[in-house]
Structures are given as C-alpha cells and as structure tokens.
C-alpha cells in the first residue's frame, strides 16, 4: 500500500517547483511591463492609404480652406494638425516655420478653433500655412486616425498618406521630416 504512493511522490517531485517557476515568470512579466518606458502614442493605420475625401471651410478669412483635392496636386504636402489652444503647437511653430523656409508646402487643419484666436496665434507664432481648414468636430482628424494635437502628416503628390508624426516636431527632427518629404515627392 505504501510503495505505489511513494513512487507517485517521486515522479511528482519536479512538479513541486512548477508553481514557483510559473510565479517567477509572472513576476518577470509584470516587472518588464512596469519598467519599460510608457508609450501612449496611438499610430494611425492610414499610412499608405489615400487621404479620405473631405472639404473644410476656411479657418481664417484671409486663407482658403482645405480639401482632399488640394493635397493631390502632384507635390508632397505637410499637413499640420494644430490649434491655437494647444500649447505644444506653439512650441513646434519655429520648426514648422523652418520647414517652410526650406521649401516644404505646409497646410494646416485647425481643430475646434475660433477664427479670432487662430489669427492671434498666427500673429504670435508665425504663419507658414498655405491653406488652413477648420475641423470643428474633429471629423477629418478621426478619418485619418489622428488622436491629438499637434500631429503632422506627410501626404504625397497622389494624395497618399506617407507618414504620421505624433507630437511636436523637435528641432533635431527637422532634417528627418525634410528627408521624408523628399522621399514622398
């Protein structure tokens, strides 16, 4: 009676360590998740897709609005999603101006913005935009998979979205953006 029980005990011996090993793996997984730097960016899945059809009214009186047809004109465009109430947009404004100075065509989509606030913002931060469309209900933003301001998209001459930049463009990122813009045209 005692002999088979003893052999069963012996074969199961290694299995005793199994829970501990599983627990250690679990701890490693949790620590890995805790220590890895957090990334809250939600990349758009629309890269490589054509810009959806849209037509936005002019956001400021002295500038035309923006429509899909304006982007597919054979040249690569930088589409800057911004707003006057967005603080990092002001931080990125010198970089946008620098890109414009280097020959980039820059169009804006102003998210939920008043014309007066926008005019003030442009007077304060410089005004490199060829066209600015007003997106008052984030319709175009949702259609291209953008989740905040500022974001910048590169749209090639055929109207295909080539690149999404999430967050403000830093000074050191300007050459990279110019290179991507060149690739797209």
């Amino acid at each position: 009676m005692s002999e088979p029980a003893a052999s069963a005990w012996r074969t199961a011996r290694w299995a005793l360590w199994l829970p501990l090993v599983l627990f250690a793996l679990f701890v490693a997984l949790v620590l890995g998740g805790l220590l890895r730097p957090e990334n809250r960016d939600i990349p758009s899945r629309m890269i490589g897709q054509p810009m959806p059809a849209f037509a936005l009214r002019a956001a400021v009186p002295d500038r035309p609005g923006l429509a899909r047809g304006d982007l597919a004109d054979g040249r690569a465009h930088l589409v800057n999603i911004f707003a006057s109430w967005c603080i990092p947009c002001g931080v990125e404004a010198p970089q946008i101006a620098q890109l414009a100075a280097q020959g980039a065509i820059i169009d804006g989509i102003a998210i939920r913005d008043h014309p007066e606030d926008l005019a003030q913002y442009l007077a304060r931060n410089g005004d490199p935009y060829q066209r600015i469309g007003a997106d008052d209900i984030s319709a175009v933003q949702l259609a291209i998979g953008s989740s905040g301001v500022p974001e910048t998209f590169i749209v090639d001459g055929k109207g295909i979205i080539r690149y999404q930049h999430i967050g403000d463009i830093r000074p050191e990122e300007v050459p990279m953006i110019l290179a991507r813009l060149k690739d797209a045209s």
Binding site: I42, R112, I137, S147, G148
Partner: protein
C-alpha cells in the same frame, strides 16, 4: 507647522488646474441623444465599447474630452443614418487599430487568450482523471 502644511494641502486641493482646452461648443450630438430611443440605445451600446483616444481608460460614453464628444457625435449621426454598429467599429479599427475597441476581437495575436482557458480546462480534466482512475488502478 502642522497647520501651515494643512493650509498648503488645502490650497493645493482647491487650486484649479490650468486648462489647455478649446472653448468651442461641443458637436451637435456629443451630449444630445437621438430622438429615436431604439437608435439611441444602439449608439449607447456601441459608445460604451469604444475607447477614448486621449483619456485611455475611459469609454467615449464616459469621457468629457472634446475628441470623445466628437466621436459620440459621429457614432450617433451614423447610427441615425442606418449604419450598423459593427460597421462603425470596423471603420474606427481601420484607423486606430484594436486600441480603439474594448470588445476583444479574435486575431492572430489574440487567439491564445481565447484558447488558453479551454486548454487549461482540458488539462485539468486529464489531471483529475489520472488522479481518480490512477488511484483505483493501483
């Protein structure tokens, strides 16, 4: 000393955070329900399973973020136009990936989540059987 610390804490608790937000009125259907209660119920059910893009742990039904309001507006308008809720979800997933939906989908990446419980049940059944019938055989 203690009173001073307390006063500072009280001040900190009452301080209004500086808001970096727009002042535009919300989209027409961000806070307004659809007239047809059945359509509204459909929209509501969908909105509860769509994830807010900026608040990250809230559904768009729960969030007061402007972009969540704009998403609710779009969901309600599309439902009112007769679109199927799952079509609207697919439209958003096409743009933001699985991130935007709280309803889990079975994909090449997620199938183990669905298969694992079944596997564990099968394993438990085998182990229990071995234990009971094994004891009798010995």
């Amino acid at each position: 000393m203690k009173a001073r610390v307390f006063a500072w804490l009280l001040l900190a608790a009452l301080a209004a955070p500086v808001r970096a937000d727009d002042t535009m009125p919300p989209a027409p259907y961000a806070y307004r329900q659809l007239a047809d209660p059945r359509a509204e119920a459909k929209a509501e059910a969908l909105m509860e399973t769509l994830r807010c893009l900026v608040c990250q742990s809230q559904s768009i039904a729960d969030s007061d973020a402007p972009i969540a309001g704009d998403m609710r507006n779009q969901v309600r308008l599309r439902i009112a136009r007769g679109e199927d809720p799952e079509e609207i979800r697919a439209w958003l997933v096409q743009r933001y990936g699985d991130y935007v939906t709280y309803a889990p989908r079975m994909t090449r990446l997620t199938w183990p989540l669905f298969a694992a419980p079944l596997g564990l049940l099968a394993l438990a059944a085998v182990l229990l059987r071995r234990r009971f019938t094994g004891g009798r055989a010995a």
